[in-house]
């Protein structure tokens, strides 16, 4: 690529905004310390973690056209694997994290193998049902808190990093987000990614070209499930807490909102979406309270219709507003 074109790509408004966003997120621990506000760091870390989850959903939903309403289950499995091991005196992250990732990938394999035989609405429903299965199993685990959840101690990486250090943990999550975004970028333009996107565009044509579409979608689901599990691991460590709420169908819905809001099929879309989601949630409440005391409690009266409007009129999401072409 000529230097001119490279410069042209690096200094577009959308690239600058994205870069600014990433820099802000990276610098958040320092900003929080300067402002003396611990809460803002906590929210920022959670945004990063949910962004990872949303990127993983975008891989199959945005690029693959597979509308999964059960993605929060991977968050739950990742988190519960860590939590259960932690409650059973296995606190080493070196053991917990691979186990959690493996469990999430295994679940992804099972769900995908069964769900990918269905299409359309049936697919949405069967993924939802599988997530409910996990949810009820989780809330039935009395030994691990049941419905109320369980406080756990964070994963230990002896000598390497102390996850109780909020700044260190934030930077770890941020690094993992960057890795996830990097992978997603490669994924989107890889031979595999093109097959997946081709299948989203015209499944029967891809089959007629000779691609065993089922296999490709299955592998995509495995990858998405693994990254989803990663976000669950991080979420459990963020609050030192696991609960079935992590994997409720509402959370699956929130993830879809984040992906669509940010812009489906665009690499940085879920990052915008996660940020916008949290910003909306955090600002609607006080914003409404400003209009009239006590109204903040009913923020969903505004948020709900907002989602309807987005679904109807702003499908391209924030990415479209910023000028991202469909990749």
């Amino acid at each position: 690529m000529t230097e001119q074109r490279l410069m042209g790509r690096l200094f577009t408004p959308r690239a600058l905004i994205t870069a600014l966003l990433l820099v802000l997120l990276a610098a958040l621990p320092l900003i929080a310390q300067a402002m003396g506000d611990r809460y803002i760091l906590s929210v920022g870390t959670r945004i990063v973690i949910w962004a990872i989850a949303a990127v993983s959903l975008n891989m199959i939903l945005g690029y693959g056209g597979l509308v999964s309403f059960g993605h929060a289950a991977f968050i739950g499995i990742g988190g519960y694997a860590v939590g259960i091991l932690s409650a059973n005196e296995i606190s080493s992250g070196w053991i917990q994290w691979p186990v959690a990732l493996f469990a999430a990938t295994l679940w992804a394999a099972l769900v995908a193998a069964l769900s990918l035989r269905t299409r359309g609405v049936y697919f949405i429903m069967i993924t939802l049902a599988f997530a409910q299965l996990v949810y009820y199993l989780g809330s039935g685990l009395e030994a691990y808190g049941g419905d109320d959840g369980l406080n756990i101690s964070r994963s230990r990486f002896a000598g390497l990093i102390d996850l109780r250090d909020k700044a260190a943990f934030h930077w770890l999550c941020f690094a993992l987000l960057c890795a996830t975004l990097w992978f997603c970028g490669r994924f989107a333009h890889s031979p595999f990614g093109h097959v997946l996107r081709g299948a989203k565009s015209n499944e029967s044509r891809m089959a007629a070209l000779g691609f065993p579409v089922f296999r490709y979608r299955l592998v995509a689901c495995l990858i998405a499930g693994a990254f989803g599990g990663l976000s669950g691991i991080l979420l459990a460590n963020e609050g030192a807490y696991i609960s079935p709420a992590m994997m409720s169908w509402v959370k699956s819905g929130d993830l879809i909102v984040m992906v669509v809001l940010g812009g489906i099929g665009v690499r940085f879309g879920p990052l915008y979406g996660a940020l916008a989601f949290f910003v909306l949630e955090e600002s609607l409440k006080p914003g409404l309270d400003l209009l009239h005391k006590g109204w903040g409690e009913y923020w969903q009266l505004v948020f709900g219709p907002l989602l309807v409007i987005i679904a109807l009129y702003a499908k391209g999401g924030i990415a479209a507003l910023l000028g991202f072409r469909h990749e």
């Binding site: 890889s190 044509r205 007629a208 000779g210």
Partner: protein, 248 residues
């Protein structure tokens, strides 16, 4: 053995309707074999059974000497049996180049590679360009498939079907919806492909059929009533009665 494809007494029923009635046809290497018949004769049903979209109730299909009757679609494509669609079915969100590139990619081993960037794969891009040039579309390489004209999309269909260097091409009404000029171009294109692969051609456009076909099979009510050269078809009384009328 010069036989590419051969069906042996293929049968397909839909409830009480016999859509394919003991059809035995064959396609030879380097031949263009046309399948004609009135609407509802069962031509598309037959093609679907050949490609693997429908399972026949009885009979066998052999391709390159192999029994492919129970083989799934993508496996048949891998063996060299490609098709173009009656209703244009390209990847609308991708460029013409990318459409052909994917078609070719399907035949280059597996695509479980996650980190390679296809945009930097010059071999892939060049091969796709050649594929487009073979059908005369290289000028439109970077155009989105949905933005191509109807005739160009039909050309793209052929280019995609050729993506895997197929031995046999099943063409389902390639002239559909084309004006006279476009049809002429398509006929020239197909004639030029004869050396590369055999073709089984379903068409209503009789001018194109008689210009292209080495042999013609006439299908009526699911039954192949006659197979022969264009001249034999013109002279055959049953065919003239059932289908061609007085014009020939």
């Amino acid at each position: 053995m010069s036989e590419l494809l051969a069906t042996d007494r293929l049968v397909k029923r839909f409830g009480g309707l016999l859509a394919t009635d003991n059809v035995s046809i064959d396609v030879q290497h380097g031949e263009i074999h046309a399948l004609i018949g009135p609407n509802g004769a069962g031509k598309t049903t037959l093609v679907s059974q050949l490609t693997g979209g429908l399972a026949p109730d009885a009979g066998t299909i052999r391709f390159l000497g192999r029994d492919i009757t129970r083989l799934p679609t993508h496996a048949r494509v891998r063996l060299g049996l490609a098709r173009s669609f009656q209703i244009t079915s390209v990847l609308r969100d991708f460029s013409a180049l990318e459409n052909v590139a994917l078609a070719q990619q399907a035949h280059r081993g597996h695509s479980f590679r996650f980190l390679a960037d296809v945009r930097r794969d010059t071999n892939r891009t060049e091969a796709a360009r050649r594929g487009l040039a073979a059908v005369g579309l290289d000028a439109r390489a970077s155009t989105r498939a949905s933005a191509l004209s109807h005739g160009e999309q039909r050309q793209l269909e052929i280019a995609m079907a050729l993506g895997g260097e197929p031995r046999l091409l099943l063409l389902d009404e390639p002239m559909a919806g084309m004006g006279p000029e476009e049809s002429q171009r398509m006929v020239a294109l197909l004639r030029g492909l004869k050396q590369r692969c055999g073709m089984l051609l379903i068409e209503h456009d009789m001018e194109a059929v008689f210009a292209l076909a080495d042999r013609i099979t006439v299908l009526v009510y699911g039954r192949a009533i006659f197979t022969g050269t264009p001249d034999e078809i013109r002279r055959h009384p049953e065919v003239r009665q059932a289908y061609l009328g007085e014009e020939s």
